[in-house]
Symmetry: C2
């Protein structure tokens, strides 16, 4: 199974929705939507729009949440929450 | 099993962390952290802080995401994403 990943950033919501739909139709596996920090809410929106509006047969897999340690710009470390949302055809 | 719920809103992050820890120690069941829309990222932060800093024996259960239809102020309906994060002792 191919494991495509889409990391959610600052692009418009719909460009990620399109990326998920494209990858779902091209692969026969699953797409994992990943996000960190404040983009976590956006990742959930993306998964829900894909499922409710475009790929009604798609299924949301086991959602994982976690913590990543990043280097802060000012030095030192900061903890950032993460989410992974698998979407399966 | 008692099913305590904490709905994440505009209060400071740590007041929800404290609420989760208090309810975890008072009940012997689980606490479910719920959030909608932009507070979803905050709900994940709360769960991770509880687990990493205060209740290291706690376990995150099956995270659920969904969509709720709300009445918009301007009339009509809007869809809002939701998350539910169960935290178990």
């Amino acid at each position: 199974m191919e494991r495509n990943e889409i990391l959610v950033g600052k692009k418009p919501l719909m460009s990620y929705v399109l990326a998920v739909i494209t990858q779902l139709s091209e692969s026969d596996g699953e797409v994992v939507i990943k996000a960190r920090g404040k983009t976590i809410s956006k990742a959930v929106d993306i998964a829900q729009i894909v499922k409710n509006k475009f790929a009604k047969e798609a299924k949301i897999g086991e959602v994982k949440i976690g913590t990543e340690e990043l280097e802060a710009k000012e030095g030192g470390k900061i903890n950032v929450s993460t989410i992974e949302i698998p979407v399966k055809k």
